[in-house]
């Protein structure tokens, strides 16, 4: 199974960081690219929703979110009792792994396009819907029994923070304007998507390289968690996708969603709601271990899992 070429840009960025190249992507370009990617995904999701939405999806949605809630609830005791992390750190990491990564999802989509596999486009909606419960659970886990929470600030950050806001906003615009309305924007928001993703991944590689140093300090447990946890979550996702009758592509995407860990929305929200949690730990694991694992090994693996369960089930 061949590597998606965009992933090579991540590797190039990683190499630049580790070899101390002076390559640096300006912060404003990083921001612009992430605004673009979030909007583009939101638009695509909105258009798909306008085309595909049916009442039956509502029940599917409840199941998908219900099952996803298990992820932080399983991750927390592993981190707290097996990993012996502090309560705040364990809760924050659980929230990161409970929520999702837009870029991992996009690479999953690119992978399916290369494999010429169809998928249920409305799954994009879960990029938004899966974020919120995981973060709320994370905060409750951190605060259970003690401490007060800045719920106001935190929920404002979740809903009006740029990632959810742009995804949701793009989705609404895509839904309202529909395929024809969006068509004149396709040249920017769809045709350029993959190239923009490639450049964003170059930058992610640079950032991830800086995070690897942190990881060394946190040791083997966290690296192991960063690999095993997504496999567990992906297995859950594969099972749920299959039970809901999703296509092979859709099953694989749901697995990738479950397996991915957030490094945009979650860090911002956790920094506000659980400031005593060490952000180096969670970003280190999510971006330094799980993200590379998912895009290099995970996605082909989840694809294989989705194919296998469909063969066995058939």
């Amino acid at each position: 199974m061949s590597l998606e070429p965009v992933v090579l840009f991540f590797v190039l960025g990683l190499a630049a960081g580790l070899l101390r190249s002076d390559l640096k992507i300006p912060g404003s370009i990083y921001d612009a690219l992430s605004i673009y990617l979030l909007l583009a995904i939101g638009l695509k999701g909105g258009v798909k929703l306008a085309e595909q939405a049916t009442p039956g999806m509502l029940l599917d949605g409840v199941l998908i979110i219900g099952a996803a809630i298990l992820i932080p609830l399983v991750a927390f005791p592993i981190l707290r009792y097996l990993g012996k992390l502090k309560r705040a750190d364990a809760a924050s990491l659980a929230a990161h792994y409970g929520s999702v990564s837009v870029v991992t999802f996009s690479i999953g989509v690119a992978f399916l396009a290369q494999a010429a596999q169809e998928y249920e486009g409305y799954l994009i909606v879960f990029l938004v819907l899966l974020e919120v419960p995981a973060l709320v659970i994370g905060v409750i886990l951190a605060r259970y029994g003690a401490g007060q929470v800045r719920w106001g600030r935190m929920l404002h950050e979740v809903f009006f923070g740029k990632s959810i806001f742009l995804l949701l906003g793009g989705m609404i615009i895509g839904y309202v304007a529909g395929p024809q309305g969006i068509e004149p924007l396709d040249k920017v928001f769809f045709d350029l998507f993959k190239g923009a993703l490639a450049i964003f991944l170059l930058e992610m590689g640079l950032v991830a390289a800086g995070r690897l140093a942190d990881l060394r300090a946190y040791g083997v447990f966290l690296i192991g968690f960063g690999i095993v946890m997504p496999i567990l979550s992906a297995s859950l996702g594969t099972a749920v996708g299959w039970m809901l009758g999703l296509s092979v592509g859709g099953t694989m995407l749901l697995a990738a969603l479950y397996a991915s860990a957030s490094y945009i929305a979650a860090p911002a929200a956790m920094r506000i709601a659980v400031p005593e949690a060490n952000p180096g730990l969670s970003i280190g694991a999510a971006l330094g271990v799980t993200f590379p694992f998912n895009i290099l090994i995970g996605i082909p693996l989840y694809y294989w899992m989705a194919q296998t369960i469909h063969q066995i089930g058939a």
Partner: protein, 97 residues
């Protein structure tokens, strides 16, 4: 108004605190402030400025010693413990018309 002797208080902190400071500084008595984007290193390691999660802002506030003291105490209480953050101040003269 003649030249006035004041303090120039500088806060260097994680960028994500900017909106909070922006809201709180006027209530603490600062008549104004100036913000620039920054990167750096300190007790919390390198903050390279490559993305928001590891970039800093530098906030300069010219104010009288009392306000400076109030700002320092507020920030020590609210943010110092858990956020990458330093504060320092110098004597400064504000030049007015």
């Amino acid at each position: 108004m003649p030249d006035q002797n004041q303090r120039l208080l500088t806060i260097v902190c994680e960028s994500m605190l900017e909106p909070f400071l922006q809201e709180e500084l006027p209530h603490l008595g600062a008549s104004g402030y100036t913000v620039t984007d920054a990167r750096g290193a300190g007790r919390h390691g390198r903050r390279g400025g490559a993305w928001t999660k590891e970039s800093n802002v530098k906030v300069d506030i010219v104010c009288d010693a009392e306000v400076a003291q109030r700002v320092v105490e507020h920030i020590n209480r609210e943010y110092k413990q858990h956020y990458a953050l330093v504060m320092y101040s110098t004597d400064a003269k504000m030049h007015c018309v």
